[in-house]
Symmetry: D2
Amino acid sequence: MQTTSPIRVTVWNEFVHEVKNEVVKGIYPNGIHAVIAEGLKELLGENVIVNTATLEEPEHGLTEASLAETDVLLWWGHCAHGKVSDEVVDRVQERVLQGMGLIVLHSGHFSKIFKRLLGTSCALKWREAGERERLWVCSPGHAIVRGLGECIELPETEMYGEPFGIPTPDEQIFISWFEGGEVFRSGCTWRRGNGKIFYFRPGHETYPIYYNPQVRQVLANAVEWARPEGMWTNALKAPNVPVDQAPEKIVAKGASVHKAGEQGYR
Amino acid sequence: MQTTSPIRVTVWNEFVHEVKNEVVKGIYPNGIHAVIAEGLKELLGENVIVNTATLEEPEHGLTEASLAETDVLLWWGHCAHGKVSDEVVDRVQERVLQGMGLIVLHSGHFSKIFKRLLGTSCALKWREAGERERLWVCSPGHAIVRGLGECIELPETEMYGEPFGIPTPDEQIFISWFEGGEVFRSGCTWRRGNGKIFYFRPGHETYPIYYNPQVRQVLANAVEWARPEGMWTNALKAPNVPVDQAPEKIVAKGASVHKAGEQGYR
Amino acid sequence: MQTTSPIRVTVWNEFVHEVKNEVVKGIYPNGIHAVIAEGLKELLGENVIVNTATLEEPEHGLTEASLAETDVLLWWGHCAHGKVSDEVVDRVQERVLQGMGLIVLHSGHFSKIFKRLLGTSCALKWREAGERERLWVCSPGHAIVRGLGECIELPETEMYGEPFGIPTPDEQIFISWFEGGEVFRSGCTWRRGNGKIFYFRPGHETYPIYYNPQVRQVLANAVEWARPEGMWTNALKAPNVPVDQAPEKIVAKGASVHKAGEQGYR
Amino acid sequence: MQTTSPIRVTVWNEFVHEVKNEVVKGIYPNGIHAVIAEGLKELLGENVIVNTATLEEPEHGLTEASLAETDVLLWWGHCAHGKVSDEVVDRVQERVLQGMGLIVLHSGHFSKIFKRLLGTSCALKWREAGERERLWVCSPGHAIVRGLGECIELPETEMYGEPFGIPTPDEQIFISWFEGGEVFRSGCTWRRGNGKIFYFRPGHETYPIYYNPQVRQVLANAVEWARPEGMWTNALKAPNVPVDQAPEKIVAKGASVHKAGEQGYR
């Protein structure tokens, strides 16, 4: 028997619409992050330690210290992407490259951190009409779909449609069918550096999506899937290997732009 | 018989070491860009129209107008990555996502545009010792290796070593062997949006790398490979599809955070 | 101006249902291959030389000689996959690994050659109900979608549904929406060896799919996209490199299972 | 705290050279499989249950029953690939597609099961000269490199050289440098169906490779990495979805080649 320590999760939410919009406040009175955190605790119990963080906290609640103790970060944002500081985005990116898992939710497709890590537009079509969505499982047996049937059906959702401006996913977990006639790559994974990234589409704030048991199951599964297998602590370093430390004996030849012991350019 | 119009190429170079460093000036008196441009013209003749651009030009020579007329952009930079304006990086990224090919050379692994498009550290090990390098072809028959044998041998190069902080390449074109004992993924392709990206390692400024006939052949091949097959002109748009324009007839239900006709959040 | 020689295309069809089934015979009296060939000639004119081959011909019309003169092979099969000889499958596989393009159509997902090259089940869900399909473009600007709008709509098709048992595609070109509620990865590319592979879903024999102008456009585009960029002629060879021909001077040490000059095991 | 059950491992070995060749018998008197099994038990202890199977056993020791109780299969073969029955290869492939992990070792690159799952030539260059090899870690922090430094150095190995005829790996774990001047993608992962595949190069039978502590560490890590996260039990099924069970209400239109309730063609 093997035992593993609890997964340290941080649920990040901009927490804006739940304050300003009456419909959203009615569904998520304590914020979307509170409901997501509750779902994770319910399903993962003592295998998880869940914290939350929001935009208005100092450093958005994502300090060096809090990230250093986060194994998996969930990200929900929509109308305030531009208010997230670049410094915090740099920090989250570095932590992902080292190994922290990142789960980006719904409108987080346009968050700075998602665009930063993928490098593409992350754009898509959209329509807010409360239409029916069916998320089909493309990878049966994958850790992220544990406990699901062949699809998840959501009675009322916002539509997201292709083309979705992303690099080809490493794994296609879900593809959505929409009542209005569109399709979308709703569950996708990528590895960037040593970190695992999962994008999961559902989550529009005017519908009670994060109370849905299957959606909660996916988030719990994804947290387990995304936990680091190990850390690449110096992922940003570009070390010089001096001639006398080369694995094979060599004699330096030719001219240099660097002096011995100098750092490289960045 | 099919005829195709010439490929419009821009060779971008920061053009700093060729001015400040006597060794580099001796090898590339008119700049690395001039020698690369000359090589492309020599090999591709009237199938190519080659321009150059450098850091010191207004907007680094990469205006909206010049990019709109560029099919493939080559990028050489080393000590001045930080001086490239973010606005120009945004513009180059958008053009790549639309379809422009991008060929990133040598120390350009740390350029803003390469890190922007890949989303990872792009870090590596390095040593400047004039050692021998052998670039092995991993994809015989690929457009980029046309006319080459099983490897390219360079008598004196800077060493770049793994781990190279990149997303898994779509295609592995070259892997390098170094005299000092390291290896490196020296030729890699990725597609980002509608643009093709090729990273090619050789090119340290203290060695006459861009006069090497095989290196020149690779650059000419890569220019032909990277030319756009078509354009994704609105790659950054995230259009709303109004309910009455949904492909299938639907009736709007539920609440909204957006008003009819409103733009989405970014 | 650059000129290129015509693309040599072979359209392969098992040609069984067009003979046995009255409905299919009514739509494709000379066989599906004849209609596909006609479409390619119409759109590509003198840029293409189109041949056809069928199951009943000697060696299924795919002799060493005919494959050696084929740049791109299209494959349609349905009820007679098991009648294709393994020897011919070996031959086609080798030619693809060398560089020949392969376009697999519709029920060809279960052909021996597709399963051979992908290594997975290639299984899917299906329903024959003449329902509406909409193939959404996921990669605007890609060579394969040239001339199309944002989707192709087919009024009556067979349904194919996820999960589709394939390795993650290199590029996702189309995803289908079906009237009955399913989705499917309808246009996918992979590179295997030096050959480009495109799977394209439409094509059920009881509907006049290959007369549809947009479907014909996709096939013509795919033929242009899949043409070899070069050949990897010895793709199946596993050459021994004798000690005295090693790129670096080495002295043999240790014991061997092979004698000098011996072939390796396969 | 979470507990997990032991991983059920089967180490498969053709077990031919250890019987026929004196050098190999001297190094592996009880067979390569025995030494690999011993290493796994040493490092994974009660987290693993290890069985072995060899070519000469009935059904090569890979019966339906034994595979049904295998989570991860390791495969070593060299001179007897052709003696493995196609029926057993079919069975192993199906089990991998369902979720069993597969670790292919050294000359197993030419095994039927590896070629079957990858679909390519799996060919490479080779030289048996007891030269030095250095396997560089390309993915620090990955589960497979846990406990390693930046490279593994082997004093005497057979050389394998690029081009290696494989589909682009999902993840590049190791790349080798050889004394004689070549390079090789020595550690690669792919997912096929629901199964994880890891190819690991070291292991020539005339050198005591599987006694090396770092090689043993990699195998133990890989076993933990490759264990199934869940099973896709019906991975080979291609189910019909009858019209009256379509997720959305539809009315069948048009003609059919199948009768109601009929199986599809394969």
